[in-house]
């Protein structure tokens, strides 16, 4: 690189330095806080004078029945959300694409985006109303004679995971379908014409043309979302959970919030956080390398 070009790049270098310092402070410095997990961290003694305790906090975590249950909850709810939101979004995109009249299609799309723009506070509030004893769901259930009395939805542990999954579906189906819809529009129309000449019906076209064409998009998004599998367990569970369903509702993040922040056991909270971060990275790297080995589209 010429000296002149280097001089020209000076503002870029200066700004880069600023961005690196900023990024270092807000994203990389907290990683240094991970030493707390190996200390008996106290505010008074700080990072440098707290007593080292090795892996004690991790040993405690993995012998703590609550933590193990919390891992199970996070994984299961994350997996349920991932599977259902992906499948339903693809199905919705395909069905919406079958509607040719844009006068009908456009308003449906607009409506489908609406819940994405509402905060989880609002969504869980709405869900609370809809599923309460005076809510619309219980009203319909009784009107059609499906149940006798009203169902206390938020007091039945077996119903909590389905409710959380439904909440995600309600909020994000339309939004998640955006990417699939645009991928469908990008499919070469001659493929469908050729399919029609070969006598393929609607379902055969979907099975043999649409879905295979969506495959790379689906795989990239799947890998990306797998990295976030464990992150998907906080707001809804925190807002909808209550004492009666605690055993199925609490997630890793709620555990960190309860022990790390509210109870001030910084070391334990950090250890649980480390577990979450490390598992997330392992999942994403594994998913990526499986995709690579099988010759699929991959993230990196």
């Amino acid at each position: 690189m010429s000296k002149k070009e280097l001089k020209r790049q000076r503002p870029l270098l200066i700004w880069s330095a600023i961005f690196v310092v900023y990024g270092f402070v807000f994203y990389y410095l907290p990683l240094g806080g991970w030493v707390m997990a190996f200390q008996n961290y106290k505010n008074k003694t700080g990072f440098f004078h707290s007593k080292w305790i090795g892996l004690d906090k991790f040993k405690f975590l993995f012998s703590d029945a609550t933590f193990l249950r919390v891992i199970r909850n996070t994984f299961c709810m994350g997996a349920l959300n991932l599977v259902f939101t992906t499948v339903v979004a693809i199905a919705f995109a395909i069905l919406l694409n079958e509607i040719r009249a844009s006068k009908i299609k456009k308003p449906i799309q607009t409506i489908s985006y609406l819940p994405h723009f509402l905060s989880w506070i609002i969504v869980t509030g709405i869900l609370n109303d809809a599923l309460s004893s005076y809510g619309i769901v219980n009203e319909l259930l009784q009107k059609f004679g499906i149940t006798d009395g009203s169902v206390p939805f938020f007091s039945i542990p077996a119903l909590f995971w389905p409710i959380v999954t439904f909440a995600h579906l309600w909020k994000e189906t339309g939004w998640n379908a955006i990417i699939y819809l645009s991928a469908i529009t990008a499919i070469d129309p001659t493929l469908y014409e050729a399919g029609a000449i070969d006598g393929a019906g609607r379902w055969q076209k979907i099975k043999h043309i649409t879905l295979p064409s969506l495959r790379p998009t689906i795989i990239v998004l799947l890998i990306m979302n797998l990295g976030n599998l464990l992150n998907a367990g906080f707001e809804v569970q925190y807002l909808l959970g209550n004492g009666l369903v605690k055993s199925v509702a609490d997630t890793i993040d709620i555990y960190v919030l309860t022990w790390g922040i509210s109870q001030n056991d910084y070391s334990l909270g950090t250890a649980a956080g480390i577990f979450k971060s490390v598992v997330s990275i392992v999942i994403i790297v594994m998913a990526n390398s499986i995709a690579k080995r099988r010759g699929e589209e991959r993230l990196f």
Binding site: E5, R8, Q9, L12, L13, W15, S16, F19, V20, Y22, V25, Y27, L29, P30, L31, G33, W34, F92, L95, E98, I99, I104, I108, T110, I111, S112, L114, P115, F117, S119, I121, I122, T124, G125, L127, N128, D129, Y134, I136, G174, W175, I178, I179, S182, G201, V220, L239, N242, V256, I261, Y266, G269, T270, A272, G273, K276, S277, I281, L299, F300
Partner: protein, 303 residues
């Protein structure tokens, strides 16, 4: 003979088509009802007499119309503060984030830049690795960002995702434009401000929308960092406190109406607050569709 067979199968597809379209139409109708009903129901309850609404049966139209819920909500001190802070964090947070992400995206989109790939990687890593709640909390405390307005604006300013979306868009612009400016002697910053940025208006709008929605809807940061500082409360957090209050009241039935001379209930107040909180976004997003559709489509491409 042959003609007849073709004709028949044609008929069958036609009939199948009609059935398919009817089913599809019904499904879409159901989808729209499930999406809209809860929102419209909240709207109806917010305009309905609170005690009357407790009897149930208010669906899409208020039975006893009142504005009392709204006047009560607007008179709450924390709601006005929250609304002001929410607007402020949305405006400032969006401006800061837009400027920072755009400049960073511009730098990593420069093919000649010395540290292009390193800087890009540095930010992509942050998308997947983070220190976790506790270390971040301690960091903010040490930086005096807790009990402060700036915790809403400064820490989340740059996001790897938004940066990548902008970078992808910038890399798609014709190189000749920048080359021409370069020959005319323009420096990188002039190119960024005068050549690239004007062309990036659509993607800037997209990212601004993403950030604004995120800012407007955030509540967890208020709870975590500004719980003790009422002057920095936000609308969403106030709404969250109302939700907990309603849930608590449902726990001991009857408390909701005890000792109230006015006809408002926690449920009706919360409905009004919910509508007020969602109104700005709900009124705006239909007009911004083309921007977020572009953004999501670009965001779907891999790093």
């Amino acid at each position: 003979m042959e003609e007849k067979i073709i004709y028949r199968s044609h008929m069958r597809t036609k009939a199948g088509d009609v059935i398919f379209h009817i089913c599809n139409g019904l499904f879409m109708l159901l989808f729209c009802v499930i999406t809209l009903y809860p929102v419209l129901n909240t709207l109806a309850i917010s305009f309905n007499d609170g005690v009357d609404a407790m009897r149930g049966g208010v669906h899409l139209i208020p039975r006893i119309f009142t504005l009392q819920n709204y006047s009560t909500v607007l008179a709450l001190k924390n709601i006005t503060t929250g609304a002001m802070i929410s607007v402020l964090r949305t405006v400032l947070g969006t401006l800061f984030a837009l400027a920072a992400n755009a400049l960073l995206a511009f730098i990593v989109s420069q093919k000649n830049f010395l540290f292009r790939s390193q800087l890009s990687l540095f930010w992509v890593i942050t998308m997947y690795v983070n220190g976790g709640m506790v270390p971040i909390m301690i960091l903010y405390k040490n930086l005096h960002l807790t009990n402060s307005f700036w915790v809403y604006v400064i820490p989340g300013m740059i996001s790897g995702f938004n940066m990548l979306v902008m970078r992808t868009y910038m890399e798609g612009l014709p190189e000749s434009l920048q080359d021409a400016a370069q020959i005319d002697g323009a420096g990188y910053m002039t190119i960024f401000l005068r050549v690239i940025s004007p062309l990036c208006k659509p993607i800037y709008a997209t990212v601004a929308l993403f950030v604004a929605v995120f800012q407007w809807n955030s509540w967890f940061d208020t709870m975590l960092y500004n719980r003790m500082a009422d002057q920095y409360t936000t609308l969403q957090y106030e709404l969250m406190k109302m939700l907990s209050a309603v849930t608590a009241l449902k726990g001991n039935a009857g408390a909701a109406t005890s000792g109230q001379t006015v006809n408002i209930t926690p449920v009706s107040i919360r409905a009004a607050a919910t509508i007020l909180t969602m109104a700005p976004i709900v009124m705006l997003y239909p007009f911004l569709q083309r921007y977020f559709v572009t953004g999501m489509t670009i965001g779907g491409v891999k790093e």
